[in-house]
Symmetry: D2
Subunit: 352 residues, 4 copies
C-alpha cells in the first residue's frame, strides 16, 4: 500500500490547523507516507476543498473515522481531535498495534484526577493512560523512544517549560515565584468561527484571557513538579496577540543565588540543551522575536538577569503550530522510529 520502506501514517482530525501542519510536515518528511486523512464533519470532502492551495500535492479525500480501517492501513496514527475524544480512540488503536501521537490534552496527565478536574471529562482508560509519555523530547527523550502512546504538549506549556526547565531542574529559582506571562497568535484558537477570533475583533487589539484558570496551568505544573521533585504552582496568564502564529512566554522567577549573572545562566542553558537540536539559546542581550521561529520547529530562548530585583527573566519564542503542536509530534515520531530527531523538520524560517 505504501512506497517501499516508507512508514504508513494517518491523521485523524486532519481538517484543523494542527491537521494541516501535519499534512505539510509529513508530506515533506523523507521516511513517511500519508495513507489516511480522517475527519468527522469534513468526511467525504476532498482535502483540497478545505485547503485549495494544497490541491496540487494532496489528492486525498477526508475519510470517516473507522478505527479498523485506520489500523489496517497505518503504522502510526496522529490524533488531532478535540479534548475528550482521543481517549476514546487511542486505546483501540494501541490494541490494534498502532503507535499513537495525540495532539489533544487527553494523554498529557499522569493523574487522571487532575485531567478530570480541569477538563470535566470522566475516563475509563486509566491503564492505557498510565503508559503514555509526555511528548516534550527535550525533557523526556528516552521515554518517548520506548513508548507507543505520546501525549503531545500544549503550545503554551512547550514554550513555558523550555524556558523554565533548566532553572527548576537545577534548583536555581524559588519555585513559588514563577510567573509566566504568555502571548499567542490567534491560530491557537483553531479553525472555528468564533467572534473573538475574527480579524475585525482581534486585529489591532490585545487582551488577556483565562486568567488564573487556563487549562494549560496544571500541565505546566505537573512537569515542573516532576522536575523539581516537589509540588510547584505557577502563575500563568495567556494573552491573545493580533498575529497569526507564534507564542512568546515571558517567564519571571527569583534566583536563589542573587550573585548569578546573565553569562552564567546562558552557559547553564546551553549545557542543558546541548543535545537538543531545536533549542537555540541566544547570546548576551539578544531577545527572541516570535517571527524568527515562524515556520520552524525551533525554540529561541533569551535570558536576562535583573540585579536590582534578583530576578531572572527568560523569554522563549516558538511557532505555536509547529514546535507547539504538529512539529513536536513529528519530532516524537522521529524518536519513536529511531530516526534522527530532526529528520524532515524545518530549521530555517522565512524572514520577514
Amino acid at each position: 500500500m505504501t512506497e517501499s520502506q516508507k512508514v504508513a501514517v494517518g491523521i485523524v482530525g486532519a481538517s484543523g490547523y494542527g491537521g494541516v501542519q501535519l499534512v505539510k510536515l509529513l508530506s515533506e518528511h523523507p521516511e513517511v507516507e500519508i495513507v489516511y486523512l480522517g475527519g468527522d464533519s469534513s468526511a467525504g470532502k476532498d482535502y483540497a476543498d478545505l485547503y485549495p492551495h494544497l490541491g496540487h500535492l494532496i489528492q486525498n479525500k477526508v475519510e470517516p473515522i473507522d478505527l479498523d480501517v485506520i489500523a489496517s492501513r497505518c503504522e502510526v496514527v496522529f490524533l488531532g481531535l478535540p479534548n475528550g475524544l482521543a481517549c476514546k480512540f487511542a486505546p483501540k488503536l494501541i490494541e490494534r498495534g498502532c503507535k499513537v501521537l495525540d495532539l489533544s490534552a487527553d494523554y498529557r496527565f499522569t493523574s487522571l484526577e487532575t485531567y478530570t478536574a480541569w477538563y470535566q471529562t470522566e475516563r475509563d482508560d486509566g491503564a492505557i493512560a498510565s503508559s503514555a509519555v509526555y511528548g516534550l523530547p527535550e525533557l523526556y527523550r528516552e521515554q518517548i523512544k520506548n513508548s507507543s502512546l505520546i501525549g503531545c504538549p500544549g503550545c503554551y506549556p512547550t514554550a513555558s517549560l523550555l524556558a523554565l526547565s533548566p532553572l527548576i531542574k537545577q534548583g536555581l529559582i524559588l519555585p513559588e515565584t514563577i510567573i509566566i506571562d504568555a502571548k499567542s497568535g490567534t491560530s491557537g484558537g483553531g479553525r472555528q468561527g468564533k467572534i473573538n477570533l475574527l480579524l475585525a475583533e482581534a486585529d489591532n487589539s490585545l487582551g488577556a484571557y483565562g486568567v488564573a484558570k487556563h487549562r494549560h496551568t496544571p500541565e505546566i505544573e505537573q512537569i515542573c513538579s516532576d522536575l523539581a521533585r516537589s509540588d510547584v504552582k505557577v502563575q500563568f496568564t495567556p494573552h491573545l496577540i493580533p498575529m497569526v502564529r507564534g507564542i512568546l512566554s515571558t517567564v519571571y522567577a527569583t534566583l536563589r543565588d542573587p550573585g548569578l549573572v546573565r553569562e552564567d545562566l546562558i552557559t547553564i542553558y546551553n549545557a542543558f540543551y546541548r543535545s537538543s537540536p531545536f533549542v537555540k539559546i541566544l547570546p548576551n542581550g539578544t531577545y527572541p522575536q516570535t517571527k524568527w521561529a515562524c515556520g520552524t520547529n525551533l525554540a529561541y530562548i533569551g535570558i536576562e538577569v535583573d540585579p536590582r530585583t534578583g530576578r531572572i527573566i527568560v523569554m522563549s519564542a516558538i511557532d505555536n503550530l509547529i514546535k507547539g503542536q504538529a512539529g513536536q509530534a513529528v519530532q516524537c515520531l522521529n524518536l519513536i522510529m529511531g530516526w534522527d530527531e530532526d529528520l524532515g523538520l524545518p530549521k530555517l524560517g522565512f524572514y520577514p
Copy 2:
C-alpha cells in the same frame, strides 16, 4: 489674536505622533485655539504636507522654534520634543508667563539625579524642575490644578500606575513582588524610520525589549514609592506588539491578605477612582481589550485574584497616544484652567 474667550495654545514639536494627537484633540476642544505649531526639521512646511488628511482643517505652517514668538502668542505651550530638550525651553517659557505641559521625560522626576542616571543628560534647571508636577490627574489632581509646569507621564507608567495605585496606596500587596509585563503597539516608537518598527519586521511578530533596563522603570518606581511612603522597586518588561495603538499592562503582585476576593478588590478600585472620569473598572471576570480604549482618553481596568497562588493580577488598557500621551496632557490642561476635567476629551471609541 484668538477668538474671544478661547485660550491660545501652541505645540512645539508638532510633527510627531504626540503632536498630531494634540492637533486633533485641541482642534476639537471647545475652549482653546491653536495659534502656533512649531518644529525643527519640519519648520517651514505646511502642516498638511506632513499629514495630508488634515489639510481641510489645519492650514497652519510649521514655524521655527522661537521662544519669544511662542510666548507672545500662547498662554499655554505643549512641548512634544525628544528627552533633554524641554529642559532647555521650559524655564524660558515659564519665565515669560506661559504655562507648560511637557510630554517628554524631562519634568517627570523629583530627583534630577535619577533623571541624569537614566537619561544621561546633565541639567541646570533644578529650581524650575522642582516646581513641576507629575501629570497623572488620578493621583495628583490638586497639585496639577495649581501648577504651571507639568511633566506628563510616559505611556507605560500611565497604564501601570493606574493598575497599581489602589493596591500600593492602601498597602494591599507586598511591594517587592510587583511585576509589570507591558505590551505596546508600535506607534509608541514614534514617527521615525527605524528598521525594527517597519511593518515587514514588526507585523506578525512579538518580542520583549529593554528588559530590566527600560527608562520607564524609575518613573514607575518614583510614583509607587511616593504612594507607599517607602522605597519600591518593580520588575518592568515592555513588549512590542504588532498593532498600531494601545498598551496593556498586566500587573502581578502578592496580596498581603490572601483572604481578599475579586469582588473586594473591584469595590476598592471603584472607590479609589470614584472621582476619576476616565478610569473604568470592569465588572467581575471581564478583562480589558486595548481596542476598547483606542481613540479615547479612557483606561479600562480588569481585576483577577488567584486563590491558588495568593496573587492579584490587574490588567489595564489605554490608548498609548491619548491617555498615554496627548489626551492626558489635555486632561491636565483642563485641570489647570479650572475646566471640567473631561472637557473635549473622547470617551467613546470606534469599534471594531
Copy 3:
C-alpha cells in the same frame, strides 16, 4: 420620554457593526436621544454584554422587535438588519408615522425586479419602495430632505460612486470602460463567525471575491445609469484586505477627451463637490490612504490621468462603517431633520 428638544431615535438591529457605529454616533449627536435598541438573537441582553467598553455610557437593554413599541417611542428608526427584513418592517413603521433609515439593500433599488434578481427575495411593498430615496447626499441631497424612507447605500457603492459621479454626470468618460477595483477591510463582512474572516485566515493575506457577481454591482450601475441618463454597466471586483476598517476604490475609465490633464479634473471634482462637506479632493499627486478616513465620515478622493493610455484613475477612500454605513445614515438624518448636514459627524480621524 426624551430630553426636551431632542429627537427620539431607535435602532433595530443594534448588535452588529453597523449598529454599534450608530450607537456611538447617535450618542454623541447633539440633537438626538437613543430611546430604543432592538435585536432578535440578542434581545434581553444588556447592550454592555455585547460591547463591554460601552457599559459606562450605554445602559440600555436590547429589546425585542415590537413595531408598535418602536413607533410609540421613536420619531426616527434606523434599521440595521439582514437584507430581506427591512422590507417587512419599514412599511409598518412608515404607516405609524416614523421616518425610516434603512442600512440594508432593501430600499436601494428603484426597480424591485433588479432587487429580486440579485437578492432572490420576493417583495410586495412596491408602493412604499417607490417612495424611497437613495441615501447618498452628495447626489440626492434635495430628495433626501423630503423623504421619510431612505435606502442607505452600500459601502462599496458609496466609495465607487463618489469617485465616478463627476465623470459620468459631465460625460467625461466612455461609460463602457469603467472598471472598479475595490478593496475593503474585513469588518464589512459583519460580526459573524465566518472562517474566512478569522484573523488566522484573513491576516497577511489578500484575495478577490464575488468577481463578476457581487450584489453591489447593480446598485452602482443603477446610480451611474441615472446620472448618465443611459444604461451603464460597470466591472466591479471587491477584494478582502487584512485590515479592520476602510475601503479604497480604484476606478479606471477612458477619457472622452484625451487632452484633459490632472489639474482640469481636480478643478472639476472640486466644483462638483463644492457643497459637500464630507468629500475632500486631494491636491496634485496626492493619493488617499484609507487610514486618513478612518473614524470619520469623510471621503478622500485622489485623481490621476495617464496620458500614455488616455485613462483617468480615481481613488476614493472611506471608512466603510461610517461614510460607508452608519455615518452616512446620520448624514441623511441631518438632512431630513433640516439640521446642518455635518452635525455631530466626525471629520478628524485619529492618526496613526
Copy 4:
C-alpha cells in the same frame, strides 16, 4: 573550498530581504554551497548580527565587495543590489567566468534607452546587456538555460505576466484594454527605514502609489509586446497592502471573442503552463489568496469571465520575495545548471 560536487555560489547584497531569502533557499538547496556573502554598509559584520535567528546555521561574515575575490571563489553570483550597481559589477564578473543572476532592474531591458528613460542611469555595458535573458522561466525557459547573465524580473511583472501571457500570446484579448491592479505587501519596499513603511503608518491602511508612472510598467510592456509581436501599453497601478509578504495582481482585459467561457480559458491556461511546475491554475470559481503562495515559489492563478461586460478577470498570487524575487532567481539557476527546474524550491506553504 567547497564540498565535493557542490556548486560554489556567492551573494552580493546579502543584507536585504532579497538577500536573506537567497541565504535561506540556497542553504537548503542540495546542489550548492554558499561561499561568499557580500555587502557594502554591512561589510565586516557577522551575518547573524543582521539576522540573529540564522546564527545557528549561517556563520559567515559579510565581506566587502571585491570582484576578484568573488570571481576566484564563486561559480555563480547573485546580485541583490540597488538599481544601477549591477551594471557596474556584472560585466567584470562575466569576464572572469562567473554566471550572474541579477535581481535588480539593470538587465531586464532589451532596450537600454527604455532603461535609461525610466531609471535615469546612463550605461556603457551595452554589449553585455544585450546578452542578458529575462529570467521568467515560464516564458523564456530555453534562453535561460543557455545564458550566463539573467535579469531576474520584478515582483509585480512576475505576477502580472503570468496572468497575462496566455491571453496575449494567443491573441485572446484586445491589448489596449489591459488594466493591472496590483497589490503588494510592504516587504517589497525593502529593509529600509522609510516612514511610509512603518507598521504605525502602513498597518490598517491601504493606498495606491506610483499611479501611471511605476517603473515596473515598461518591464511589463516589453514582455507583453514581445509576446504580442506588437507594441502593447498597459495600465498598471500598484497598491501597498498592510501585510508582510505577497502580491495579488488583478488583471482586466476585453476578450476578442465574447463567446469564450471560464472553462475554455482554464483549459487554455492549463495547457499553456503544462510544463511549468510552479504555476497552478485554480479550478472553476476558486480565486487565489496570497497566503496560499506565501513561503513557496508557486504562482496561483484564478480566472473569471464576465459575460455581462465581455471581460476576462485574471488574478495571480505569488510570494513577492520568492517567486517574485529570490526563488525565481534560484529557479533560473536550476535551469542554467541543467538541474530539475524545481530543485530545492518550496512548493508547500505553511497555512495559516
